[in-house]
């Protein structure tokens, strides 16, 4: 990729102290975000996607969590162990985040306008009160909310889920961030609204040129919006590639399994062609990970090599540019 690299995560490890011991929710993760590009992070619940995002924002609840090692570099500046007041200048300003739960992510007792203006006031103190109010209306118009002049005076409970997520996007984008982290932004929304929100994010990315980290478990969303994809499993990235390579040549059996679990409909009749594929077995507990590959118990290609005699699998180059896979028996061309 020849574009400007704005965020780099290197060997990130995030630990949580629990009653049952220390657990590594994110264990040695590497990825990069480029200007104007979208990085998709895909994985099942508990694979460490959201924790990685919160680590970038510096919002890991501490205690019990902490960034144990690794680096997060925003335009070369380390965000790990940064002074909290420095981080607050970046958070919401240069790096903004939207969350999965639009219904509860807005404060119920403040108006929409107040909640947008709050972030503008914080990061653009040179604007006057009337300029802030005007900007809040502009932001609502930008995210496609009808009659924004009226909506700024309303409270979150007067808006639908899709509208609230648009408000969240308006808040996140009001300081024109370099990076937008979207943690499952469409999961809680109706399918038609999902498409609208994704389209909106794509459109705004083109206009504002920000890098996006899109966290999702929906490969359909990835295919539509992402440039580069990282597949996470048990706190590690198991495969990383540009979106076309990943869909055309998935190398990790887990990635292949995820793709096979997408319902496959005949586009003309609408009937399901065959029984829905699933990945056998369960995600292992983070307290009790197997030695060797974490996916061994669910993998159809498993061999003795995967059981720990060769150590843990690490990301190695695979077929195609910028394609890496952590597997002892990667799938060849399909």
């Amino acid at each position: 990729m020849n574009t400007e690299k704005i965020l780099e995560v290197k060997d990130l490890v995030v630990e949580f102290r629990t009653e049952r011991g220390v657990v590594k929710a994110v264990n040695g993760v590497n990825f990069e975000v480029h200007k104007g590009k979208t990085l998709g992070i895909v994985g099942e619940s508990g694979s460490g996607k959201s924790v990685s995002a919160l680590a970038i924002m510096g919002l890991i609840p501490n205690p019990p969590g902490r960034v144990a090692s690794g680096q997060i570099l925003y335009r070369g500046k380390s965000l790990v162990n940064i002074d909290p007041s420095e981080m607050r200048k970046i958070r919401g300003n240069k790096i903004a985040m939207i969350f999965q739960e639009p219904m509860t992510s807005l404060n119920p007792v403040f108006t929409i306008g107040n909640q947008i203006e709050e972030v503008i006031e914080l990061h653009q103190p040179h604007l006057s009160a009337s300029e802030r109010a005007a900007k809040a209306v502009d932001m609502l118009r930008l995210v496609g909310i009808p009659s924004p002049e009226k909506r700024v005076k309303e409270y979150p409970h007067q808006l639908s889920g899709g509208m609230r997520q648009r408000v969240m996007i308006a808040i996140a984008l009001s300081c024109e961030p370099d990076i937008l982290i979207a943690d499952e932004p469409t999961t809680a929304l109706d399918v038609t609204i999902q498409a609208q929100i994704l389209e909106l994010m794509n459109k705004l990315q083109k206009e504002l040129g920000m890098g996006i980290i899109l966290i999702t478990h929906d490969l359909g969303v990835v295919a539509e919006t992402c440039d580069h994809v990282a597949v996470m499993y048990c706190g590690q990235i198991v495969e990383s590639a540009d979106v076309e390579t990943l869909f055309n040549h998935p190398s990790h059996p887990y990635t292949k399994g995820l793709m096979d679990s997408i319902p496959d409909f005949d586009s003309t009749s609408g009937h399901k062609k065959e029984r829905l594929q699933t990945i056998e077995g369960m995600v292992p507990s983070l307290f009790n990970l197997p030695t060797g590959c974490n996916f061994q118990d669910r993998c159809s290609k498993v061999t003795e090599a995967c059981r720990g005699m060769n150590g843990d699998p690490t990301l190695k180059p695979a077929k195609g540019d910028d394609h890496f896979v952590a597997c002892f028996n990667p799938l060849e061309n399909i």
Binding site: R91, F99, E101, V109, E118
Partner: protein, 313 residues
């Protein structure tokens, strides 16, 4: 529907509630309580004396008329005269309100500000050492019987150290100040434990909500997150807890005023109970019922101010 119409409607609801309360009070005082003739005239009263007294007190009227007499006092606050002192009860209440308020007013303000600030502090540092320290202190405050606190305080601070007056009262500002400092301090100690625990729970309930994470993700400082976002959402239970205390401000601290010889409404009530001074007891009962009902309405109205989701209906 606007706020004023809502307030008016809530005030209209007060009328049936008050009528019901009056019914209960009427049954308790006029039907269940012993005949006042036993108290007022003694054992050797003649039938004629008793009949005259009953006529004087309106007890020869039909029950329904007596009930409406009770209702009338609830709306006019014309409570009649004390049996013990023969004074006008409304005048007695007005005289007692000052000393009561001089203790309960500062106590109310100080204890709530203290408990809410402390709760915000420990909610902010939840799980840290200061949280645990305040927890131990709160439980101590809740567990030590209030009588022990009062006696120890009077003995140690007033008698041993001579810092304050042990008990007593002088009317008029600032003369009363030396007398009220000790009860205020001791009752702040007695009440802060439970209040702090309650406010801490309420605040922490909100501190883990999604919108708090959103507020942090904007880059707001923890102080702003706590005082703007969390506190306003915690206001409903906090307001309820605060406003429910206000009737006690007016009614006085029943026991504390006796311990500290403060001639307030609490002490007046205790005296009335000791002397079977039924008109005074009845007056205080009606007054407290009215106070609780009215402050209930005020609480409901304030809910709609702090929470836009509350519908005005």
């Amino acid at each position: 529907m606007n706020l004023y119409a809502y307030i008016l409607r809530r005030l209209l609801y007060v009328i049936p509630v008050l009528l019901g309360v009056c019914l209960v009070i009427f049954v308790l005082f006029n039907l269940v309580a012993p005949d006042p003739a036993f108290i007022l005239l003694g054992k050797h009263a003649t039938h004629q004396q008793i009949a005259e007294l009953h006529h004087e007190l309106g007890m020869d009227k039909p029950f329904i008329a007596q009930y409406f007499d009770t209702v009338k006092t609830a709306f006019t606050f014309d409570f009649g005269y004390s049996w013990a002192s023969k004074q006008n009860i409304w005048q007695m209440i007005k005289a007692g309100a000052g000393p009561s308020l001089s203790v309960t007013g500062p106590l109310f303000v100080i204890s709530n500000i203290f408990a809410i600030s402390l709760a915000l502090l420990v909610a902010f540092y939840r799980g840290k050492l200061i949280d645990k320290f305040v927890l131990v202190l709160s439980i101590a405050g809740m567990s030590i019987p209030s009588l022990a606190v009062v006696l120890f305080g009077q003995w140690f601070f007033a008698y041993k150290l001579g810092l304050f007056e042990i008990s007593g009262y002088e009317n008029g500002f600032p003369n009363f100040i030396p007398y009220v400092i000790l009860p205020v301090i001791l009752y702040v100690f007695i009440s802060f434990g439970g209040d702090t625990r309650f406010y801490r729970t309420v605040i922490l309930d909100e501190a883990y909500q999604d919108y708090v994470r959103t507020a942090r993700s904007k880059g707001l400082s923890e102080l702003k997150v706590m005082f703007k976002h969390v506190l306003k959402n915690s206001m409903i239970p906090i307001l309820t807890q605060i406003i429910i205390q206000i009737p006690y401000l007016i009614l006085g601290l029943i026991f504390a005023e006796s311990f500290f010889s403060i001639p307030g409404l609490g002490a007046m009530t205790i005296n009335a109970i000791n002397n079977s001074d039924f008109p005074v007891i009845k007056a205080m009962t009606i007054l407290s019922a009215v106070a609780f009902i009215l402050f209930g309405v005020i609480t409901d109205v304030l809910y709609t101010v702090v929470d836009p989701r509350m519908k005005l209906k």
